[in-house]
């Protein structure tokens, strides 16, 4: 007879413990496997609400006054090549990024001069930036703000940097660029994937 089975037969307390543990394992495993599904549900709910709010006059007023708070809708980002169409919120906190993508607070507002930076999820919370690595030179990225829109065009391929490399989001008022950041490789936070594009249309839209 299997010694494990023998042990369990002769020790009732061991059977109880194993029974308790197996239930816990089952629930935990289901939770872990279901986590991405959970985040997508949260993302969808957030985006539904943001869709309504970004069209409101209140948001437009707050945008002009530069008084948007962490989590407020900021701009819609469209990447035609990837089929991305999502509302970006202000802020890059973990709470704000439950919407899928968030604007770096210390960078210029969309369509303004300087380095506009946006971070987005790659595997959870709607994964809007899941396929950023497929972009290439010449692809366009459109930002639609409450007060206007603009278009950026990629002049270089996506590249990889260390998670601590903040130079990619450092502002340079002499340039008008858009920087998108996400984790790399997919499912890991070991590096960051960077996409940069230069403002090509609608430069004064958000003045």
């Amino acid at each position: 007879m299997d010694p494990v089975i023998q042990f369990l037969r002769s020790n009732p307390w061991a059977r109880r413990g194993l029974s308790f543990f197996s239930v816990a394992l089952l629930v935990s495993a289901l939770g872990v496997l279901g986590y991405p599904v959970y985040t997508n549900v949260v993302h969808d709910r957030e985006q539904g609400q943001l869709d309504r709010e970004i069209a409101s006059d209140d948001v437009a007023r707050a945008y002009r006054a530069r008084q948007l708070k962490d989590g407020d809708p900021l701009t819609r980002i469209k990447i035609p090549r990837l089929g991305v169409n999502t509302v970006v919120v202000e802020g890059t906190s973990s709470k704000a990024l439950r919407a899928g993508a968030g604007h770096y607070p210390n960078t210029p507002l969309p369509c303004e001069a300087g380095n506009v930076a946006i971070a987005g999820h790659r595997t959870t919370y709607g994964k809007p930036f899941a396929d950023l690595d497929r972009l290439k030179e010449g692809d366009v990225i459109i930002l639609e703000t409450p007060i206007g829109s603009c278009t950026y065009e990629m002049e270089r391929a996506p590249f990889i940097v260390e998670p601590t490399d903040f130079s990619v989001v450092t502002n340079d008022p002499a340039k008008s660029i858009l920087t998108l950041t996400t984790c790399h490789p997919r499912g890991s936070a070991a590096k960051r994937l960077i996409v940069q594009a230069t403002l090509s249309k609608g430069a004064g839209a958000a003045a």
Binding site: F20, S22, V23, L26, A29, L33, L97, T123, A189
Partner: protein
């Protein structure tokens, strides 16, 4: 029983899940600046300088700071000038760090002064002690300096000066004494009993005494400087005990014809104290001082005469912290024109002497430290004698019972720092999650299978 197992299992599962799903708890970052403080105290029972060179006697100092560095010194006699005039070695105690102690017991010697100071100054036994310690993180420093006896003999130098060379000095003195004589006549009335001041007698006696008599005879006490730290405060205190200064002991005739030897001026001094306290909780500092009450005894015959007429006891004048010249004696002694807190005697002459008595003040430095200073007596005698005797340029400077204390610090502060991300935002979950989930499922399956087979 089965229900308990299921509920318990669900609870454990919930805890395990929260470690994957829940994000890191938000915590405010803070930075703190540690407490800083410092304290120092110093004093001397006597500072004597003749023509710019001299000694301080009965000196003490103490200092400490929040880095737990502590230093204390006590010195019997310390050379303060350029000339190597001798003195005693400072008794020094110094420690750094907690649970340390350095105690130097009282050490006494008879200092060997060198020429030319030893022709002007004799010093009795001079002692010093010092203690520096840190116990329980609280530093403490105490320094003590003492001189038992000290004599100053300026006459050895002045005896070489002929009286005729002092004629330029006599003119203003002449005018002063003449004024006093007229005043006495007015008060006493015609045919009164108060004799006039005799010019030649008074001035000659004074000048003769300078040339032949020991100038100063000083008995002084201790100087103690200490800085003590408690849980609430840092307290710096300097205390200098006073003594008796006998100036120009001379032979004075009494009315009955007998002669007594008395100093022309006796200055009897209490002790001075300067203190400063730093409050560690609030970070505020304050200072205070207690200057000595000084009694001035003047033993010239003229003072007796004036006292009889005016009813003012010239022989003994108590001087409060706000020194005020006796009105009738204003001709001889009056507030200095350029320093109203000092009394000038024979102002404008080579023999001009300045006296500041029982003075003190508190102050706040630009760096926020607060201090106090107290002086029992500060006498600058023969201030302008250098115009007659070049070797004595600078005159005789005497400071008695000088105390000073200083404290400062800053209470510990906790500052909220803005959240500064250390990495670009994390926007990807671990790729191991599905593997972990499947592994958990497999483990749960085999566990249940083993349980079923064991029944």
């Amino acid at each position: 029983m089965r229900t308990i197992k299921r509920v318990g299992g669900m609870a454990v599962a919930g805890l395990l899940l929260s470690s994957f799903v829940g994000g890191p708890a938000a915590s405010a970052q803070t930075t703190s600046s540690p407490e800083t403080y410092l304290g120092s105290a110093a004093g001397h029972a006597l500072l004597l300088s003749i023509a710019g060179n001299g000694v301080s006697a009965g000196s003490s100092s103490a200092s400490l700071d929040s880095t737990l560095k502590v230093l204390a010194e006590g010195t019997g006699v310390l050379n303060t000038g350029v000339l190597p005039l001798g003195g005693t070695t400072p008794v020094r105690a110094e420690v750094s760090g907690d649970s340390t102690r350095d105690a130097k017991e009282l050490s006494c010697v008879t200092p060997a002064l060198t020429a030319p100071l030893n022709t002007l100054l004799t010093v009795g036994v001079a002692c010093g002690s010092a203690l520096a310690e840190v116990q329980g993180g609280l530093p403490k420093a105490v320094g003590t300096g003492t001189v038992m006896d000290l004599d100053v003999m300026a006459n050895t130098v002045l005896s070489s000066v002929p009286i005729s060379a002092l004629d330029p000095v006599l003119q203003p003195v002449l005018g002063t004494i003449d004024t006093i004589n007229k005043l006495v006549d007015n008060l006493d009335g015609e045919g009164g009993t108060v004799p006039d001041l005799k010019l030649d007698d008074s001035v000659t006696e004074l000048l003769g005494a300078l040339q032949s008599t020991k100038t100063l005879d000083v008995r002084i006490g201790d100087s103690v400087s200490q800085v003590v730290t408690s849980g609430d405060t840092v307290t710096s205190t300097a205390t200098s005990a006073g003594g008796v200064i006998s100036l120009l002991p001379v032979s004075l005739p009494l009315a009955d014809g007998t002669v007594v030897v008395k100093p022309i001026v006796e200055i009897v001094i209490g002790s001075s104290r300067a203190s400063a306290v730093y409050n560690r909780g609030g970070g505020a500092s304050s200072g205070s001082f207690d200057p000595s009450i000084v009694t001035l005894r003047i033993n010239l015959p003229t003072t007796d005469a004036l006292g009889q007429v005016t009813g003012i006891n010239f022989q003994e004048i108590k001087i409060a912290p706000n020194l005020q010249a006796v009105p009738v004696a204003a001709a001889l002694a009056a507030p200095c024109a350029d320093a109203p807190n000092e009394i000038c005697v024979l102002a404008g002459t080579p023999l001009e002497t300045r006296i500041a008595v029982a003075s003190g003040r508190t102050f706040t430095n630009p760096d926020g430290t607060v201090g106090a200073v107290a002086d029992a007596v500060k006498v600058h005698a023969l201030k302008n004698i250098g115009s007659l005797v070049a070797a004595l340029d600078g005159g005789i400077l005497l400071e008695l019972a000088h105390s000073e204390a200083l404290v400062g610090g800053q209470a510990p502060q906790t500052l909220a720092m803005p959240d500064i991300p250390r990495t670009l935002p994390r926007t990807g979950s671990s790729s191991l999650l599905p593997v972990i989930g499947l592994a958990g499922l497999a483990a749960a399956f085999f566990s249940r299978r083993a349980l079923v087979r064991s029944h």
